[in-house]
Amino acid sequence: MYKLKLASAVIGFSIASSGFAATDIEWWHAMGGANGEKVNEIAKAFNDSQDAYTVKPVYKGNYTETMTSAIAAFRAKKQPHIVQVFEVGTASMMSAKGAIYPVYELMRESGQSFDQRGFLSAVTGYYSDQEGNMLSMPFNSSTPVLYYNKDLFAKAGIKTPPTTWEEMESVSQKLLDNGVKCGFTTAWQSWVQLENFSARQNIPFASEANGFGGLDTKLTFNGPLQVAHIEKMSEWQQNGIFSYGGRRSDSAPKFYSQECAMFMNSSAGYAGIKKNAKFDFGVSQLPYQGSAISEPKNTIIGGASLWVLQGHKKEEYKGVASFLSFLSRAEVQADWHQFSGYLPITRAAYDLTKGQGFYAQNVGTETGVLQMTSGTPTANSKGLRLGNFVQIRDIINEELEGVWAGQKSAQAALDEAVKRGNVLLRKFERANK
């Protein structure tokens, strides 16, 4: 199967790159549907704006498929110039020193004027090295927010959405008393309830600054605050305040069907909720532990960024650099942000969107941006840089499901997840020495 993928990647590439006068820039991405069409539109706008380069976007399937095919292509020396990689693949990409062309170096060596300060630090922090140099170009970023059912809130006489976890409990209880079946549910449990929970509470998810400091990082999400939080959620799972609805965003139907009055999910889920919810809904910031902190930190992003791969001609990299500059233009960014629901990545794009009155017309779309840009990111809220992180998330899913099913205590599950996760981190360290 691996061979097959490799072969198809090779054939696909050789067909796609024949016979054009302008220099071709291959861009592999994972944006299907309407977002995919928008990607084509962006590439076309760039191609029309100059004659020297032609950017060719190629849809390669979902995030993992795109990343795997790019890696297979790299092994066969047929890699694209640009590939879109999801945030959890960051550590794998970063460690592949001979395979990637860091964006800051690319921009410098191609003579593009490039000011990193224009970008939102909560976004670029995830994709920068220890010195703050951007290694990849953020493209589509999102962050978890709290969606709530305004109709059910009104019925229960609740005026404002909860801001702390303590209020989550009291508000949910009030909803239950008024006949609602469940208080809240969550999508992406590891991302929302552990990774972002830790960031918001400003406690480490892993040692060595969440892995930014080196490969010898160890998981630390079995600390007292996280354990208390998961313990509480397990208790809530039993009494109906929380209801687990599956991995990824499988829990969405619980919110759509009004079974649960609140839903924690990615800010990029806005369009889907707008389409499916047959009720009035609001968007609010992710709650924080009021008993532990007075002011929450920013949340961590999810989504993907664009990585430039090594092994092409200098002339072609000039094209890549000018395309990345084009992508970070305020009007391109603002258009993409407003269309897709992903966060803006530059301050200028945010201001432009605000100036156009977009947030006033689409209430709730600004919540993610505000939450992500509140305060300066700390070592605990800058992001995560952990190898084998896809599998670590699987482990967390497995262990948390044991908690929700009442088979394990929060402490035992998180301890076990940390232990199993650390084995994978050591494997990654060994493979990437």
């Binding site: 993992t64 395979a99 599956g246 084998n388 099913a405 199993r420 084995v423 994978l424 493979a431």
Partner: protein
């Protein structure tokens, strides 16, 4: 009489020494390129640990295997695989046989009936998974709501056994069509005269089926058993990936799903290769057992 004896009795003398080799050559080349070479690669990879891009590679001996067999989760996944595979093979064969026997007896509208039964085979495994996933969604799925109406607390997000039932249904559903086709063809090859003779002797339909039809179907059943087990062992990660992703906990994480997940999603090539070597070995042993012990009971 088994296949080998049959071959000896029917053997024909070929004057050319080289021609037979030439004739099987394309088959050998295909086997070599598409089966043996990848298998050898997996075998080799199982002794290395390397980063995703293949920039560095370290020989680690049996480390990948040691790691696997020290992982309690891996033993669980072997057990999950056995439960899953035998459930899929058994229910797929049983339901398809039942449908085929019924379809064989239908006189009017036979073709329509048979065509409809074959349709699910055209559905991609992952899509079939999603279809059943939606039907059984605890909040919105019609079947789940219907079950809840009858007092069954259906929630496959938390209940491992229910999740297993669901993936077994999804994986079996489309395989039924395939089995059905073979069983129907097998049934039509059963000589009518035998059945008629039995009925004249006063054998009930049930007796006729068990003593005449079922034994005569045994080559088909055996063939399908092998095919279905191989399908359940290797071809079902799409269904699992599109639905449970191995959860809740590890209750539906089969071995092949772990190979796929650790290799293609986790990019841990060494462990994934080691797992596929173990899987190859296991299925190899099983196939030998099937051919040695079960095939003896088959009447050709």
């Amino acid at each position: 009489m088994n296949l080998w004896q049959g071959a000896v009795l029917m053997s024909v003398y070929f004057p050319h020494k080289k021609l037979p080799y030439l004739l099987v050559l394309p088959q050998l080349v295909i086997t070599l390129i598409f089966f043996l070479w990848p298998a050898e690669q997996a075998f080799e990879q199982a002794f290395y640990q390397e980063d995703a891009f293949g920039l560095s590679r370290e020989f680690v001996g049996f480390d990948n295997f040691v790691y696997l067999f020290n992982d309690p989760q891996y033993y669980k996944s072997i057990w999950v695989t056995l439960v899953f595979s035998f459930s899929v093979a058994f229910s797929g064969l049983a339901i398809a046989l039942w449908l085929a026997v019924m379809a064989d007896r239908v006189i009017r509208g036979k073709l329509t009936y048979q065509t409809l039964l074959v349709w699910p085979y055209a559905v991609a495994p992952a899509l079939a998974g999603v279809l059943w996933w939606l039907l059984f969604d605890p909040s919105m799925g019609p079947i789940a709501l219907w079950l809840q109406y009858f007092g069954v607390d259906w929630n496959h997000f938390l209940n491992g056994d229910q999740a297993m039932t669901l993936v077994v249904i999804s994986a079996t559903w489309k395989q039924i069509s395939y089995n059905f086709l073979f069983f129907l063809a097998g049934l039509q090859a059963v000589p009518r005269s035998l059945i008629e003779a039995a009925s004249i002797d006063g054998a009930s339909p049930f007796k006729r089926f068990w003593t005449i039809v079922f034994p005569l179907l045994s080559p088909t059943t055996f063939f399908l058993l092998v095919i279905n087990l191989v399908y359940a062992f290797f071809d079902t990660f799409g269904v699992i990936d599109a639905t449970t992703q191995g959860g809740p906990g590890v209750s539906t994480a089969t071995m092949v799903y772990k190979v796929f997940n650790d290799g293609f999603i986790g990019l841990d090539m060494g462990s994934s290769a080691a797992q596929s070597v173990v899987l190859m070995f296991l299925v190899g042993v099983m196939t030998v057992i099937q051919f040695r012990y079960i095939e003896r009971k088959v009447e050709y």
